[in-house]
Symmetry: C2
Subunit: 466 residues, 2 copies
Amino acid sequence: MRNSWVASRKGKTNVSQMHFARKGEITEEMRYVAKRENLPESLVMEEVARGRMIIPANINHINLEPMAIGIASTCKVNANIGASPNASDISEELKKLDLAVKYGADTLMDLSTGGVNLDEVRTEIINASPIPIGTVPVYQALESVHGSISRLNEDDFLHIIEKHCQQGVDYQTIHAGLLIEHLPKVKGRITGIVSRGGGILAQWMLYHYKQNPLFTRFDDICEIFKRYDCTFSLGDSLRPGCLHDASDEAQLAELKTLGELTRRAWKHDVQVMVEGPGHVPMDQIEFNVRKQMEECSEAPFYVLGPLVTDISPGYDHISSAIGAAMAGWYGTAMLCYVTPKEHLGLPNPEDVREGLIAYKIAAHAADVARHRSGARDRDDELSKARKEFDWNKQFELSLDPEKAKQYHDETLPEEIFKKAEFCSMCGPNHCPMNTKITDEDLDQLNDQIQSKGAAELTPVKLNKEN
Amino acid sequence: MRNSWVASRKGKTNVSQMHFARKGEITEEMRYVAKRENLPESLVMEEVARGRMIIPANINHINLEPMAIGIASTCKVNANIGASPNASDISEELKKLDLAVKYGADTLMDLSTGGVNLDEVRTEIINASPIPIGTVPVYQALESVHGSISRLNEDDFLHIIEKHCQQGVDYQTIHAGLLIEHLPKVKGRITGIVSRGGGILAQWMLYHYKQNPLFTRFDDICEIFKRYDCTFSLGDSLRPGCLHDASDEAQLAELKTLGELTRRAWKHDVQVMVEGPGHVPMDQIEFNVRKQMEECSEAPFYVLGPLVTDISPGYDHISSAIGAAMAGWYGTAMLCYVTPKEHLGLPNPEDVREGLIAYKIAAHAADVARHRSGARDRDDELSKARKEFDWNKQFELSLDPEKAKQYHDETLPEEIFKKAEFCSMCGPNHCPMNTKITDEDLDQLNDQIQSKGAAELTPVKLNKEN
């Protein structure tokens, strides 16, 4: 689809959606997104120009079906996959991609750190993916010098960043906001730095006693990004890794720098979103969202959870879906899922499914709570099917139809029960939605109440004995 | 334990905790609760006297370990179990009770509607349970007349209510707030009435064209309750069954009556909590909690979820845990769990576990967000263990240690990995918590930054090459 769209753009110095939007051009990608989001094309263009909406769409990711991230569009969900030296391989990762797309991931990050050829797995994922792909180039930068912080130099970072752009990566996490002067503020934290990329940069700065190369070379990175329309996902290296560390001085100092970098990227007409926490108690979530909007001039916010408690290993998809739903309600543009394996091991395909559904719930609940036009339609349709005991339609309208059907069929598998006016929860005689009370019954009752008052009623022959 | 406590109370006309509290007596139950909650005994007494805290403790539930529900104490979680005509039996229900207690349920409701002898399963559950047991007597009232609404009379309700009291039930859902004049307001809803007890009473009122017997005989029920110290859980028959129906006129009309009944029960010195929704979009949850406090003079609120979307069958424990956590944060005293089987079938023991952990997360997150004293201690301990790579301690401090260990061991089962400074998520070289950055490193850096500024640093020999 995009072959013809991008053909004329190749070789230009700036092919970013923001660049076109600021020139008043509505691209095919904007048109596509406007249709998907049911928004006016002009609004999409204006939001992209303003930096409040991004369309991550590398010109080399040809089979991409463009989508938008921003407060004017629906709340999005990202799924992280990737092999580690201890688990998985390319075919397993491609399986995770398929599952992620099937269960409604809006974007996907390949966070492979080893155990596979990093270029190979990334290229295969991009080629197979209709949704935007994000990466964290720092991992491969370190791998390219065999893990040696001392040998890793500024150009290594830029070399890998450009390689990812060439391969068609739609957005890259760039940990440019972590300054060397922020590091002392980490003291006193319980869990210190919990961002993988951030940890590598902190080690680099502490070894070389030099400023963060992603910060000092930020304009060079912008120059690369604009040629491919790769979008910044400004990494929050100092995101809190536990409730204790949430909203602390270290986190907020970095956020301020992320805001400055946002505006610097915008000067290049390069698209930006900003990453956020992490682990945050419920009462601090609204503050975190508002603060990001304020510091980062409303660039789309992209949070990881946040988890609202630290005591839920094995169920962190749930504790983080709570925080994510609230963050989405307060205006966060994209929620990065957390799987049940978080903090315990590498997620497998089933974990991807569990994590994604939890986050589809969070994002959808946020859209409903923000009163987005039409957001509740599917809820209402499912509720009507529920009232009508149309079980197959209920399954069909569910976020995970197979799981819904499987759970229903666990106790009542026979086909006849797909039209039964009950399930095994209450059995045939106790389902409250099967009282057979009709609007007519209620009207008759109401007429008497209106004319005689509730104390003086005369029974109507209802023939409703059960 | 309670044998000696209650011995002197038997035969008295009012043995409720509220009655004693209002006389200025601190009972053994209050003392026990004060210790559990780390609250002054006098505060517990005052809160119980005020009606803002309840201690559901039927004098016939001898092996009960008393607990408190109210805004001054930690947020509680209730687990619903019970057989239905289509599934389960007594031994399965006792297994669910054991699991519920194991995973931290604070109270438990036996909602059996059939398939078992209702008295037998209830008695066995009470005898085996250290936590308060709640019931919904309407189910058995209907069963006692073989399901015939026409034959069901006012005394049948009271007869069953007293029987449950005699058996040691600590609290009963009494659907007294549903008035006949509320019924016409149900028109226009998508899912109508979704409370099982409420549905039965609506049918009864529409058949007999008479006011709700639980309302007209409310003072008689108070007289029964005070002799056993059974607590009211005032049922919300008109709780919304879908987002569309949330916070509507029907729901709020009943809530007003629930407030009046709360104060009527308090005149008898009978303890009360009030049940709430259900299905509520996130942006209406705070309103619902505040409205209940206002209408019901701050009697403890006990909500079922609420689910924040209707499209999550199979995952309703997650969509409802989001609403529950928020409700708890806003001041709800107890959260009734929802299992993954909600709307699909009767939960089995594994569903009980999944539902409970989701709700333990919600209640705990609420306690943290409300800044309850010491609420975050366990989070901090677990986070420290995480930073120290003490895997066994992490498991131990988790809400579900077995699940946490199982997930970790899925990829790294060998005992040696219980002290490894990584897990399979990032592998041995990429764990951000293993950067070996010390406080000393940060102090050295800070000294230079303070004296020379961040731009003019001289590398310190760190010997930290990796």
